[in-house]
């Protein structure tokens, strides 16, 4: 017997004790059952464009627009806050909704937030978002620029170089990547005390 109890009125499960693994699974189940209970259909319909919540998309879009205007006026911390809120909003989408559409909605926020972090001088933040982008969308050269520049700014030149080179493998003529690569190669030589 697993140590959890079911509450009839709230229709939620509760772990009775301190079990981290179980806690995670129960929490995930509560989220999902909440989502399914809120849904009128007796069983969740298979993921499709039609079943994707448009209202939420619209709200997310508005949030993103105001974040972008904040960036344009140099209000980076505000922009980051808005983008984090937007990301959390998308994050709360029901789990049975289209993964693909959730993903693309999410990446819009992560991309913009990575740039906002960078402009705000938070390179760890920028690196982390870019790192996630590379995992999610590994064939987009721009993500390697983001990750590489963040690494460069943190003094990790060799890692930065590898990122620019990897980005170039997807787009060998990318001018921005070439420029960044040249720059970091010089920096590496300088670091090594080359003539």
């Amino acid at each position: 017997m697993l140590p959890f109890s079911y509450d009839v009125s709230s229709k939620k499960l509760k772990v009775t004790g301190d079990y981290a693994d179980l806690e995670y699974d129960i929490q995930q189940l509560n989220t999902l059952s909440g989502e399914i209970l809120a849904n009128k259909a007796d069983v969740p319909s298979p993921p499709s464009k039609e079943s994707f919540d448009k209202k939420l998309s619209h709200m997310a879009q508005k949030l993103h627009e105001s974040a972008v205007s904040n960036i344009k006026t140099g209000k980076y911390p505000e922009a980051i806050k808005l983008l984090t809120t937007g990301l959390e909003m998308v994050n709360r989408r029901p789990k049975y909704e289209s993964f693909q559409m959730t993903l693309s909605e999410m990446t819009i926020f992560i991309v913009t937030r990575a740039d906002a972090y960078m402009m705000n001088g938070d390179f760890e933040g920028a690196f982390n978002d870019a790192d996630l982008l590379v995992t999610l969308l590994p064939s987009i050269p721009d993500n390697y620029i983001r990750r590489g520049v963040a690494l460069f700014k943190m003094g990790r030149y060799v890692d930065a170089k590898n990122n620019f080179e990897r980005g170039l493998s997807f787009d060998p003529d990318n001018a921005k990547l070439k420029k960044e690569l040249d720059f970091v190669l010089k920096k590496i030589d300088e670091e090594n005390g080359e003539l």
């Binding site: 464009k49 995992t135 969308l137 493998s169």
Partner: protein, 664 residues
């Protein structure tokens, strides 16, 4: 009915054969493996080539390190500490002794054996006439009628002899007797049946003789021997081909499969994983937690009292073999991140450097006299060995916070850490001018192993970078690599004991080929272990001139064929030092696959993404339907490209998903 008799091998005939067979079964393979080991060791020439630092620095645990260093390492100590050798010597002497016993006992003929020729004292080729004449003479001599004056005993003897002579004569002339002799080895027909039990004489005769002993002896043959063989077989089964305990291999594989990719892998992760190894537990009788604590102590340069320190170093000295096994398994999963982190963890443990909070100065911390990171100046922006060699002794002393008199030594150690400079790298198919689809390619790298103190380009003749294609080189393109001497880049870390067992795992560079597209390994992890270290001795001028510069050739054989479709395929080739910090190199490498004049393609290329098919297939069936991407995006930068890419990236996020492990 013939008499049945159990014969305890009293004249010691059977058991020596038995023992000698047993000995041979054990000794021959052991000797072969031992000799080949010795041979490969001496041909790798590590004794001669080890580069010694000219350093007077002694770490706090110097005594314990040197106690373990080279254990079973060199000279006489080596000869007598080697258990295998002792075993072989004892074994072979026993073998010789038993051989001698056999040799001598063979001469004592069994009197029971009936040999008519011997009895008649004639040659076996004698004709019937000769036999007859000899028989007549002998029967006259031994005839019982002539016994008159002899004693009873003598009479009996002569009588026996006479009977024997008669039998022998009959055996050679009379038909029936002859037949009996040929059939049963005796003119009288079948003799008693002897069941030989291989028992040494002393067990039956003498003081020791007792049924208990016989039972013990039999049980040894019937129970103990199969048990030993079973145990040996079990030992073979309990270790993988790479010498890893199967429990350790299972733990490593399990970790890779169940690992949650949302979590970062770092040196501590690797240490935690390594600590679970069965090898470390059985070598120290410590729990995983205690082993982990010892390894963390090594990482943080925490020293203990002599006994515990020795235990810590013992554990540390075993790590490289485990890391090697881990890298082999991780590489099979094409997991480049884990391979890289594992190799890095090995170096941090060898140099006793914890990079957390000082990743910018880790290269400096491996130098002698730099015992604590707090010694290092926060103001002088020098992070690399290369830069350190360009500044003055005074500046070095200020940088790493040491006495100025030791600065020259620090500089010389920094200058003697080998680094790699690649002059040329390409994909090559023997006998072809281009890389053709579906063929077996290898990577040829021409590189210099040099000192960090040597700057700029070396003017190396183009000739040195070319390889003439001869019949020999086409037959074995790797002979040029094998002809180079084995590098001896053994770490002279003051904190790490290099032993016979771990030296092969800490020497040189690991070579990783990564596919740029998915960031996974393209092939298994190889080692760069042959080449020339002589450049390290060159002055800056000699290096720049390039006359005396020795070019090292490295070749990586690809296990998978080239892609079936022409195009550019992007890779990253990484050289990761197995023991030094700041000695790595990564280069991008493009495989330009071109169609040769006539070609037909078939089959599947599996460097790129072998699991895509199965996963995509599984996905499609499970998913039923694919959903198009959102159409109403309003991103400021890269959203358009992303929308285009998203379908093709679908499998990548899937792969990521599958990597997700249990969250704990």
């Amino acid at each position: 009915m013939a008499r049945v008799e159990y014969d305890y091998d009293e004249s010691a005939e059977t058991w020596p054969y038995f023992v000698i067979t047993l000995l041979a079964v054990v000794l021959v393979p052991t000797t072969i493996s031992y000799v080949s080991k010795i041979w490969s060791r001496s041909s790798s020439g590590r004794k001669a080539q080890v580069k010694k630092y000219a350093t007077s620095f002694k770490a706090s645990n110097h005594d314990q390190v040197s106690q373990l260093t080279g254990s079973k390492g060199s000279g006489n100590y080596f000869l007598f500490s080697d258990k295998t050798l002792v075993f072989l010597i004892v074994g072979w002497s026993l073998f010789l002794y038993v051989g001698y016993v056999i040799h001598t006992t063979e001469l004592v003929a069994d009197a029971n054996v009936f040999d008519p020729w011997e009895i008649l004292n004639i040659d076996s080729s004698a004709t019937e006439k000769q036999i007859k004449s000899v028989y007549r003479k002998l029967s006259l001599k031994f005839h019982p009628d002539k016994l008159g004056s002899l004693s009873d005993e003598e009479k009996e003897d002569v009588e026996t002899k006479f009977v024997l002579i008669n039998k022998a004569y009959k055996a050679l002339t009379d038909e029936i007797t002859k037949e009996n002799f040929l059939k049963y080895g005796h003119p009288d027909g079948p003799q008693s049946v002897t069941h030989g039990i291989a028992l040494p004489k002393f067990l039956v005769d003498g003081k020791l003789a007792s049924p208990v002993l016989v039972v013990i002896y039999i049980s040894m043959i019937a129970i103990a021997l199969p048990f030993v063989v079973a145990k040996w077989w079990d030992n073979v089964r309990s270790h993988t081909r790479h010498g890893l305990h199967i429990k350790t291999a299972a733990a490593f594989s399990s970790y890779i499969i169940n690992n949650n990719p949302a979590k970062l892998i770092n040196t501590e992760t690797i240490i935690e994983l390594i600590s679970k190894a069965e090898e470390l537990k059985s070598a120290t009788n410590l729990s995983s937690e205690e082993i982990e604590e010892l390894l963390l102590a090594q990482l943080n340069r925490v020293f203990f009292d002599s006994k515990k320190e020795l235990q810590k170093l013992k554990v540390v000295s075993l790590v490289p073999k485990l890391i090697n096994g881990l890298v082999d398994i991780a590489a099979t999963f094409r997991n480049s991140e884990l391979c890289v982190k594992a190799i890095e963890a090995q170096r941090y443990l060898i140099q006793a450097v914890n990079p957390t909070g000082c990743s910018d100065i880790e290269q400096l911390l491996q130098l002698p006299f730099v015992e604590k990171k707090e010694q290092v100046s926060k103001k002088i922006p020098v992070h690399t060995l290369g830069k350190l060699t360009t500044i003055s002794d005074g500046e070095i002393a200020d940088l790493v916070g040491i006495d100025k008199k030791n600065a020259a030594e620090v500089r010389s150690v920094a200058s003697s850490i080998p680094v790699i400079k690649v002059l040329k790298a390409e994909f090559k198919i023997p006998g072809e001018s281009v890389v053709t689809p579906q063929s077996n390619a290898h990577i040829v790298v021409k590189l210099l192993i040099k000192s960090p103190a040597q700057k700029g380009q070396a003017k190396v003749d183009d000739e040195k970078l070319e390889e003439k294609e001869t019949f020999e080189s086409l037959r074995d393109p790797f002979s040029i690599v094998q002809d180079q001497p084995v590098l001896a880049c053994l770490p002279e870390s003051p904190y790490f004991p290099v032993t016979v067992e771990n030296s092969e795992y800490v020497n040189g560079w690991a070579v990783l080929l990564t596919v740029q597209r998915d960031g996974k390994l393209a092939d298994s992890v190889d080692l760069l272990t042959r080449g020339s270290l002589s450049n390290l001795e060159l002055s800056q001028k000699a290096y720049s001139d390039g006359e005396e510069v020795q070019v090292t050739t490295y070749k990586l054989k690809l296990n998978s064929p080239t892609p079936p479709t022409p195009g550019d395929y992007h890779f990253k080739l990484s050289f990761k030092s197995l023991s030094y910090l700041g000695s790595d190199l990564d280069i991008p490498l493009v495989m330009k696959v071109q169609e040769p004049p006539k070609v037909e393609d078939a089959g599947v290329y599996d460097i790129e993404d072998p699991e895509e098919d199965s996963i995509a297939g599984a996905m499609a069936t499970l998913r039923g339907e694919k959903v198009k991407t959102a159409d109403d995006d309003d991103d400021d930068s890269a959203s358009d490209e992303e929308d285009l890419e998203i379908e093709s990236d679908f499998t990548d996020i899937n792969t990521d998903t599958e990597d997700e492990g249990e969250d704990k």
